[in-house]
């Protein structure tokens, strides 16, 4: 592998990692407050990608602008789903909630097949073809844009979590719901908002991933595998960890693409996932004890 190719894969990997970080942050946020893996997370991403694709096709709405549509829609839907379904399962066996999210994933997959057929789709804009060259490195414009947008949105999420009352309440609930309730946090409401926020992050990632990769209704099974690897490597519930892990794995994937072969690239994710669980189950930045893993 030439130096140029390596440099190029590092740049591409970093940008893709940013998008991974955005979507994985939603997953880890939801896990933090609910202690449950949202198996439907990637199905929500794909749903949002389909919506963005549809908006672009019918209304000509730019996929990057469609983020402003899908995020509020998914926030409301997420809050509703929590209120109507997930809230009723709170306090009961957590595996029931996992099974419900598994059911959501299946329902979303079926809906996508019904509404959009099972063909491969990709969001192709006129600027999808553009690339520019810096120091012998080719950077496709979409990569740069999606990476940048993802970083901006992530920054926004960190501000919300770090600087607002809601953010403090979410962090307190993540640490220990009982203590949070004792200091006056309305845990149920905070959990609902955190779930909705996490779902919104998935929605924001939809158009971005939809511009980078082709998708079809059952793609979400592949994506949830990647996202799980990221949140486990980062440490379940840790946003900082998710970010670092997403960038690390995004880079490793790109390098694997060039150094070995694109069809082996997913193994990077699974290798890290199993390796981390064997060696250090709480991940890089895991704050939660072994007990809850």
């Amino acid at each position: 592998m030439s130096g140029e190719l390596l440099a190029q894969s590092i740049v591409l990997g970093f940008l893709t990692g940013g998008v991974y970080a955005l979507t994985a942050s939603g997953l880890t946020l939801i896990f933090g407050v609910m202690r449950v893996v949202n198996v439907a997370h990637a199905a929500m991403i794909v749903m949002s990608a389909y919506l963005s694709w549809w908006l672009y096709r019918t209304l000509g709405l730019d996929p990057l602008l469609s983020i402003f549509v899908v995020v509020p829609v998914f926030f409301v839907l997420g809050a509703l789903v929590h209120r109507v379904i997930l809230r009723r399962l709170a306090g009961r066996d957590l595996t029931l909630t996992v099974l419900v999210t598994f059911g959501f994933a299946i329902i979303l997959e079926g809906l996508q097949g019904t509404l959009f057929s099972s063909n491969f789709q990709a969001i192709n804009t006129p600027y999808s073809l553009n690339a520019f060259e810096v120091l012998g490195i080719f950077v496709p414009l979409v990569r740069l844009l999606s990476g940048a947008v993802a970083l901006v949105l992530l920054g926004g999420l960190y501000l919300v979590l770090g600087r607002t009352d809601l953010g403090r309440a979410i962090r307190a609930t993540t640490q220990d719901p009982r203590s949070a309730a004792l200091v006056g946090v309305n845990v149920e409401r905070v959990t609902m908002l955190a779930f909705a926020l996490g779902v919104s992050m998935a929605a924001a990632g939809g158009p971005l991933l939809g511009m980078l990769f082709a998708f079809y209704p059952s793609t979400h099974w592949l994506w949830i595998g990647k996202l799980l690897a990221i949140v486990v490597l980062g440490g379940l519930g840790s946003l900082r960890g998710a970010f670092v892990a997403a960038v690390v794995l995004g880079l490793a994937e790109q390098v694997m693409n060039v150094a070995a072969s694109p069809d082996w690239a997913p193994l990077v994710f699974y290798g890290f996932l199993f390796g981390v669980l064997i060696v250090r189950p709480r991940g890089l930045f895991g704050t939660l004890g072994r007990e809850s893993l």
Binding site: D93, L94, V100, G103, I106, G110, W221, L267, L293
Partner: protein
Amino acid sequence: MRIRRLAPVLALALFALLPIFVREGFYLDLLLFTFMYAAMSVGWDIMGGYAGYVSLGHVGFFGLGSYVAGLLVVHYGIPVFLSAPFVGLLAAVVGAGLGWISLRARGTSFVIVTLTFTYVVQLLALNLRGITGGSSGLYLPLLDLPGDLVILPFYYSMLALLVVAILVSIAIRRSKFGLGLIAIREEEGKADGSGVNTSLYKILAFAISVSFAGAAGALHAQYLNYVDPDLAFELIITLNLIIMSLVGSRGTVWGPVLGAFILMPLSQYLIYLTPSQIAGQVHLIALGVILVLVVMFMPDGIITTYGTWRRRRGTARPTDAESAQLPEAAA
């Protein structure tokens, strides 16, 4: 009492004799798939029902079994009817390894590992082209039998698999091991404290649980004479197992069997009676909706709920104390 014990034997005798009267391949095919799913679901329930650990990865073991058995036929000429038990054993060993990774601690990593395991096996099946045939799949030689008899070895071996699964489940249910698993489900911390080696119990339960999926996969590969990375790892298989177990009743011997005998004909009904252009999506959405509804409104499943109802009706006026003691299978 006597009827209760006799009924399963009578049912078995009936199913064993059925092919004499029913010669249509379609009904035998439907029944053998029902047996297969029932056996796998009974297996799933040993982990998901008794121990309370939900596996989302049984199809990974099904696919693993399909490929191992397929490769044994293609490369060494070993028939699946011989290899299936050993393939089941191999699945158990792999399951124990996976359990060692994910079951030493409590909770989420098990869900993650079981879900991801499927993709790992599938990726290997796709990419180790020299061995597995890659995306083109693996072609198994056909059984050398007259056309109308070909289905019978599969019918009887799936039935046998189901019988073994039920016997194993009953044995576990009555053993100290089974009590330990249920204690883990009810309160793992307490079980740990009272001297149950929870990690070992869980790993063992998972190994037993997936062995049926592995053996079923082996038989299935030969039934279709074909394995490919799509059909060996259809996630709908895991989904079916879970729904069957939940609908019938988690944590019971007969719940998953009942679930399979309800869900398989129902699926057929959905496929044949909805307009064909949408049948598949309707089927998928319906399965997802059933799962969500069952979890929300009937997590105890038919058998347990019916038992509760019977007991309630039997007592004129159940006191609060009594209903509080009622088992919550899914808790």
